[in-house]
């Protein structure tokens, strides 16, 4: 996803000299081409995320579209107040990019687990929060952010799902994408963990359960209509995120349902339940340990359907 982002950003920046990339001294080998080709649009702010975000705001207020780039929590938590007061409050074109969503850097420890980012960022006013699930979405999200005024957070992931496009519908911020049709149950997810969702959907299909799989690449503003349609048209909703259950995608979906008094026939959220993810291991291993994988999704679907599957 990181490479898909950088490649697309470079393509865009070649044609728009107002597009800038600032790194917080991370991205070894990944940003070399961008720097070499567009040195006036590239900056290494050093290990100084607060200043990186303030600089980005100052540059954006003078007409630029500035991407700040780092891994895991670094570009958001250390400088959260700069994102809130400086970027968001001034409607600055600052696009904060983290390339380590969820357990991307699993073996590096909890400092590198970005597992509260969606909740924290979506609580900020006047921000767009994106978490693409595949390479196509990651590239399209990059272009869309350049064309959408204001502050945004782009959560990228080391893993990614296989690209699924049922038709030629373009990527649009705020519009969830259906990756697989079905009406027995709806699986709503964001980020690279979508690979687990699609794999669960395959397994369920072999049992005769057809799942609608929806990519909520935009966590804020959330696509209300898509969620309500899932509640109306399917046998239940399961949300999946590589993120805490406190305030993330599942919470956003639950808020929409409760606010609309739209009660799905079953509902379950899959994500991190409590405590720090202090186990050491790869993204795949940690998904298994913390129950955010295809086996858990299948089991949640069985629970939600409660043995009385609703036929289309």
């Amino acid at each position: 996803m990181r490479d898909a982002f950088v490649t697309r950003l470079l393509e865009e920046a070649r044609h728009d000299r107002n597009v800038m990339l600032i790194t917080g001294d991370l991205g070894f080998g990944v940003l070399t081409k961008f720097e070499a080709e567009l040195p006036r649009q590239y900056l290494n702010a050093g290990v100084a995320e607060q200043n990186m975000t303030m600089l980005a705001t100052g540059l954006a207020m003078e007409g630029r579209v500035v991407f700040t780039y780092s891994i895991a929590n670094f570009p958001i938590l250390r400088c959260l107040e700069m994102i809130r007061n400086d970027a968001c409050y001034h409607g600055a074109n600052v696009k904060v990019v983290s390339i380590g969503g969820g357990f991307s850097y699993g073996a590096l420890g909890i400092s590198h687990h970005a597992t509260e980012d969606l909740a924290i960022m979506r609580s900020l006013p006047e921000i767009t929060v994106l978490a693409p699930c595949d390479l196509w979405e990651a590239a399209e999200a990059t272009s869309a952010l350049i064309r959408t005024p204001g502050t945004a957070y782009l959560r990228l992931d080391k893993s990614h799902a296989p690209a699924m496009r049922l038709d030629e519908t373009p990527f649009r911020i705020g519009e969830a994408r259906i990756l697989r049709e079905g009406s027995d149950v709806a699986l709503l997810a964001c980020g690279g963990v979508m690979s687990e969702v699609l794999s669960a959907a395959e397994s369920l299909s072999s049992e005769g359960i057809e799942a609608r799989v929806v990519s909520h690449h935009t966590v804020k503003p959330i696509d209300r209509e898509s969620i309500l349609a899932c509640a109306r048209e399917t046998g239940g909703i399961v949300t999946v995120e590589e993120h805490t259950l406190d305030g993330g995608l599942g919470s956003a979906v639950a808020e929409v349902l409760a606010d609309s008094c739209a009660w799905p026939r079953g509902f379950q959220r899959i994500g991190l339940r409590s405590g720090f993810s202090s186990e050491v291991g790869s993204q795949e291993y940690l998904r298994q340990i913390y129950g955010i994988n295809s086996a858990q999704i299948e089991s949640a679907v069985h629970g939600v359907l409660g043995g009385s599957r609703v036929m289309p």
Binding site: N51, L55, T57, G58, E62, M82, D86, H90
Partner: protein, 252 residues
């Protein structure tokens, strides 16, 4: 305005009033009738708690009607206690949390450099604000990138929120710190308009400038001067009358 709104931070405003007056009367290239003129100098008040002082200067310059000042700090006012840009012509950046102005100013200054523009960026900071680590990130950055179109001004009144600066987190040797970070340092009396004007002139040789302005907190009102109390207290009743009498008495 601070009396009507019962707002605090009066002494912090008086401390920097001569600096702000010098900037708007003698230094800043701005057009009150065209507040977003692209060629303007950018002024950021990083010590946002002294917003009242900047609002007064902007009103005096004609950015907005002086009558607006009477609403300061009150229900429904545009003029919040900490300086805000929303709906207020002439304010570049809303602040209030310390340690934000210099980094944003550095971004603006870098933008001017990239576009070969000749406008400058002025950031007025407090001394207590220099406790914030984010400033030192920006100080490193501005020198490394040769932002000689960036001017920091420190209102060095030596009193912060609870106690004097040396009893809180000492800044001395303060000038040497900035010098060692690669900045041009000008120290002057922050109530001497001629000295301030000289210090705020373009330096231009590839390095950012800091003006360390030695000031008196609560300047001009004897019972407020150098008193921690008046960081927060708002003048009412007899105190208000006495304060106004002193200011009127010192009118040139």
């Amino acid at each position: 305005m601070t009396h009507l709104g019962k707002s605090s931070h009066v002494a912090a405003g008086l401390s920097m009033a001569d600096i702000v007056a010098t900037l708007y009367a003698r230094v800043l290239r701005v057009r009150p009738e065209e507040p977003e003129w692209p060629g303007r100098d950018r002024f950021i008040l990083s010590k946002g708690h002294a917003g009242a002082c900047v609002y007064a200067a902007l009103a005096e310059c004609g950015f907005f009607p002086i009558e607006w000042l009477r609403t300061h700090y009150q229900d429904g006012s545009l003029l919040s206690g900490h300086v805000s840009h929303k709906g207020i012509p002439g304010v570049e950046l809303s602040t209030g949390s310390l340690g934000h102005g210099l980094g944003v100013g550095a971004g603006m200054a870098l933008s001017a450099k990239l576009d070969s523009e000749d406008w400058r960026v002025f950031v007025l900071m407090s001394d207590g604000e220099c406790d914030e680590g984010s400033n030192w990130e920006a100080i490193l950055f501005a020198a490394h990138h040769g932002l000689d179109n960036l001017v920091a001004i420190v209102d060095y009144n030596k009193i912060q929120s609870l106690k004097p600066v040396p009893e809180t987190l000492g800044l001395e040797p303060f000038a040497e710190k900035w010098t060692s970070f690669g900045w041009i340092v000008c120290e002057c009396d922050g109530h001497d308009v001629a000295a301030l004007e000289k210090a705020l002139h373009p330096a231009g040789n590839g390095r950012p400038t800091v003006v360390i302005a030695h000031t008196t907190k609560g300047k001009g009102i004897s019972f407020m001067e150098n008193s921690v109390l008046w960081h927060y207290r708002t003048p009412q009743g007899e105190e208000y009358e006495a304060a106004i009498a002193e200011l009127e008495g010192s009118r040139p």
